[in-house]
């Protein structure tokens, strides 16, 4: 079967590169971008994208983006100088994504998730969790804990007979710590970045 090339994906990857670097990638950078081990493999999708008018070959043989790929830059027109614009004033009460996700910057850590025991809570392997080290966990909080020497991420519950941890995946079972349990922090947010 001939190799299928997902041109849409390639184009998205090239656009992302352009957004962050403001230039076209070299052949070897494209190979890395597409996950190819050889530069020669890049040639086929590049030729297709040139045919479709997304890329062009510049004077020195280097690949350049066309406007079709990068989009046009809109020009807003003349902006009045002088008084502070009302828009700026309205923005004083907005918060950044940082402030939105991190309540206590001095006690928040990042962890990369590797297991799938919280998958039904929407936390997948590869996700990042923001963990706050301050404060005591309440029922139903998702926490990071070290139980009998092993680190785990689970729902936290407390009942009459003590503390227990529940997974969000039927393949795993409830943990009642017999020996020691150290709370490593409370999960405050999950981040999944696609590219």
């Amino acid at each position: 079967m001939p190799r299928q090339i997902d041109l849409k994906k390639k184009l998205d990857q090239l656009r992302a590169f352009h957004r962050s670097e403001r230039r076209a990638p070299s052949y070897s950078e494209m190979a890395e971008l597409f996950g190819y081990s050889s530069k020669a493999a890049v040639y086929a999708p590049v030729r297709k994208l040139i045919d479709l008018g997304y890329l062009k070959r510049s004077a020195g043989g280097r690949i350049a983006f066309t406007q079709k790929a990068t989009g046009k830059i809109a020009i807003l027109g003349t902006v009045q100088a002088g008084f502070q614009s009302p828009a700026e004033e309205e923005l004083l009460d907005t918060i950044s994504l940082d402030e939105f996700l991190v309540r206590r910057p001095e006690s928040t850590f990042l962890l990369t998730v590797s297991g799938d025991s919280m998958i039904d809570a929407g936390i997948h392997p590869g996700d990042l969790v923001l963990v706050e080290k301050n404060g005591a966990p309440k029922n139903q909080d998702i926490i990071i804990a070290q139980v009998d020497g092993e680190w785990t991420m689970k729902y936290f519950f407390r009942d009459k007979s003590g503390v227990y941890l529940d997974p969000a995946n039927p393949a795993y079972s409830r943990i009642r710590p017999r020996g020691s349990m150290v709370v490593g922090g409370i999960v405050r947010a999950v981040i999944r970045k696609y590219q």
Partner: protein, 436 residues
Amino acid sequence: MSKAAPLMLSSFPRAIVHVDGDAFFTSVEQAIHPHLRGKPVVTGKERGIIACASYEAKARGIRRGVSLWDARRLCPELIVLPSDYETYSIFSSRMFEIMRRYTPEVEEYSIDEGFADLTGMRQVFRKGYREIAADMQAAICRELELTVSIGLSLTKSLAKIGSDFRKPNGITAVPGNKLHQFLPNIPLSNVWGLGPNRVQLLKKYGVMTAWDYVCRDPKWITKLLHKPGLEIWNELRGTALLPINTAPWRPVASISKTKTFTAPSSDCHFIYAKLMRNLESACIKLRRHGLRAWEISVSLRLKDYTESGLTARLDRGVTLPQEVAHVVRELFDQLHAAGAEYRATGVILARLEDDRSRQYELFDDHARTQQARRLGEIIQIINGYYGKHRIFLGTGLYLNRARKNDRDEPCWRKNTLLKGETRRKRLKIPLRNIKI
């Protein structure tokens, strides 16, 4: 004055704490990598010399400054890590942030130690100074998972002695009415500001402890050690002379950038490239603090650790590497011995002044200066976006000529990049190495 007589009757007319991180760099590593807890860990792999040793490593006789080769012989299972100053700095600023919950007057003295003035805070927290200090210590330990030692007393000098008195994870409170019991236990070498030379000098006069020191006539102290000696005398007697400096740290005297190569080299292009990279780094720091420099020093360290240096005064204050590149070339050519093996280069910018006010020299080429500044600003903007040293002086192309060896291994965080991070720019939140 007899030993039994107290210096004062009140306990805490002022309450200054000194917070000192216990084996800070390795403690941060153990907080990030919990599996390293309880194991002998050292940092400084990239330099070949130990920068910090964990308490487990110290127990095996491994100290800061020992070569890695000697350390591995003392302890074959030693875990040697490359330094990760970025993460240490994040933990450092978090430590000061936690201290500021207890008082606004906090001085960031160095990456792993700080002072705080708690005077008057008893009313706010409805507990004693010692209890407030203990709360501070517990919060740092709980939220950063590392221990600090705290000294609480009347002055910065006394607090600093206190934090060193019980380590690790200790608290030592020395109220004014207990000074006469505490100071006789303190050897002079533990007193802040008394270096080995002064200690030896004082020994000749029979001054062995901090108590001996404060019992001497201040006139005698002044005659022997001048004003700084008298300042220490007052500080040790509980009279605070050194202020808590809450301003963010700013270099006043000089900015220095010295980098040791991972392996000694005799390639003069490579050595010069390293030197110019130090110049660029120093200038970046210079501009970040809004300063300009009127003096530049260049130093080269040979393989056998002998060092030679040269200093040049400049005819105007500079902020950009391009402005002094030719001076550095000249100094380098005078210092460098062909064929010799070098292990480090350094650049020191001195005679610093504020760069906000700008005076033009009569004979300055005004247009060219303006052009160079504009270029510098643009490079700064580009590097600010893409990461440090993305645009660099052409000499930097020789940097890749060095042989790679195992000391070049980047730290874990630089090898564990999240989507969207680069080798130059990462999130300002520590990533913990825990498998969940």
